[in-house]
Symmetry: C2
């Protein structure tokens, strides 16, 4: 059976966007007559037959999807976006990004801005400031799909894709235990987004399973920055009961840990250091940094698939979408490798 | 004199976007009657008087600005965007981002997508693949301002903000000469975007001024990645005439240089290494990496100011806008510090 011609094929043939083709075929007035004529001619040439049901559902579609993230500069989000873009592009969709910079006010504005830009739906991950999530309801009120990834929230019932964060914390701690470390500290941060709490719970579970009671003074709650890692490590190294390994809340925190240790003449793995997120410098610094990979590529792809599934059925199908939970991966490198 | 009430004040008071206020005041049909009523009531309460000229120019405005960049993950672009956002936000504008991932096809699609999202104007930096720039003309055809920053192109006459890239290359090379290095290699890349060629010319000028003829085999043209830096360094260290310092085309290239040197038991500044862009890991790796700061914050602010200037006058004013050229800054750190 020959492949069915889609409006994407017409767009490609004419080197215009799918949105323009859609608007031309749906007789929307913002298209010039010459464009409309060439779209119709090409549709005929390629033997395009609109699917009646699909076309009633898709009329008014812009083929633009809004992505709302804390920052595209964070490697994890950058990779998710990249995978999302790649997958959705093959279905004729373009991506517009809005960065919240971890601000609730900016997040509210972002939802409004994306809706005003007439996106077909929104794929979002929450800011660190977000506690009340009512602004996300606007997306549903407009009948548009909303998918939440990674940073989810108990109060927001929406299709979502995340990783098993409890297991991520467990995995990092278990690896350090396997390498013979016993006095393991954790530099993290505190707030209502679940992932940080869950990772911390995984850390505590691994310790308990190894028969090691968690030491309260070894849990330091600060900022997830190089400076936060540096300050936290100075605090830890000032204790009587110094740790023999430190888990950083992310790879930037781990950079700060390594820097503070270096000033005391200590190089990992003498004290073990592991981060989260597999930032693209982690593999290349010396010593190379162990970290937990959060499966960003897979997460982006799963979000894209979920989006297509919802939009092809109808927004009402959202309620029947099963959440996707991915498993984190340990990347063991020189900064924790004591045993061969 | 009391501060004049703007539509931004009304938006803030009602906790809605400036775009919504603008649409309500301009009687555009996509606003609900209740929203329109509360906007009008608040406008009255705050004693809002529309500026007749401004309001005729601004009717139909969305207060959304499109930013098109190769990647928001590159520190330099991330910082420019951040500064732009911060400045324009105080004037009631929101930012939508489109990433080209260095692809010309994606760049064309990005311009179309942003225009379809009804942005008020576009601020862009070109992809590495871009040679023909005709797709940018569409922005002007719609009478919307277009500002190009950093990666400009001879064929595109548009208001622009850039840094003095020839001087950036000169500055990096001059610093290495000052530190006593004499055999200075350069790992860069080749294409039609001017900045890389200009930096390379600055490198050659500094060498010539020091009475050192540039060595052709010390100029390696590869990829601007960690892997590119690693491969280029292996090539250079295989030469009879080994360099005593290497300039990386960006900080990721420099990471690859340091990695390749490390495998040969060499740690900078034994061989000097300097990058470009001041990525946020550069300061924190060991040894800390010397680099050229491209004044991203200032560049973002200058783009924002230029945009406001054009949009407040009229798009026709574009032709009278003087380009802004910023000076790069040397950040000398441990990786090149031979002298105290």
């Amino acid at each position: 059976m020959a492949k069915k011609t889609t409006i994407y094929d017409i767009a490609k043939e004419l080197n215009i966007t799918v949105s323009t083709v859609s608007r031309a075929l749906n007789n929307i007035s913002t298209i010039s007559e010459s464009t409309r004529a060439s779209v119709l001619a090409t549709a005929k040439k390629l033997n395009y037959r609109p699917n009646k049901i699909a076309s009633s559902l898709t009329s008014g579609k812009t083929y633009i999807i809004g992505i709302l993230v804390p920052s595209a500069q964070i490697q994890f989000f950058a990779s998710v976006i990249h995978a999302l873009e790649k997958y959705l592009k093959s279905f004729g969709y373009s991506i517009l990004l809005y960065q919240t910079n971890e601000s609730l006010e900016s997040e509210k504005n972002g939802i409004a801005t994306l809706l005003e830009a007439q996106v077909d739906g929104i794929i979002a991950s929450m800011s660190l400031e977000t506690q009340d999530v009512s602004h996300f309801e606007k997306v549903k009120e407009e009948g548009k799909p909303l998918i939440i990834f990674d940073r989810t929230h108990d109060d927001l019932q929406s299709p979502n894709v995340k990783i098993d964060d409890e297991y991520a914390g467990y995995l990092a701690t278990q690896h350090l235990l396997d390498q013979g470390y016993r006095n393991i500290a954790y530099l993290t941060t505190r707030h209502s987004i679940k992932i940080f709490r869950e990772r911390f719970e995984g850390y505590q579970r691994a310790l308990r399973e190894a028969g090691i009671p968690p030491t309260p003074e070894h849990a330091v709650f600060g900022e997830l920055t190089v400076e936060g890692g540096y300050a936290g490590t100075q605090q830890l190294m000032g204790l009587k009961n110094q740790p023999d390994a430190i888990i950083g809340g992310d790879d930037y925190v781990a950079l700060g840990i390594i820097k503070a240790l270096h000033e005391k003449g200590i190089t990992p793995p003498e004290i073990g250091v592991i981060g989260f997120a597999n930032q693209n410098f982690s593999e290349h610094i010396i010593p190379s940094l162990s970290t937990i990979d959060q499966q960003a590529i897979k997460m982006g792809k799963e979000c894209a698939k979920m989006f297509l599934k919802i939009i092809e059925q109808s927004p009402l199908a959202e309620n029947n979408i099963t959440p996707v939970v991915l498993e984190p991966l340990l990347l063991a490198r020189a900064s924790t490798r004591r045993k061969q």
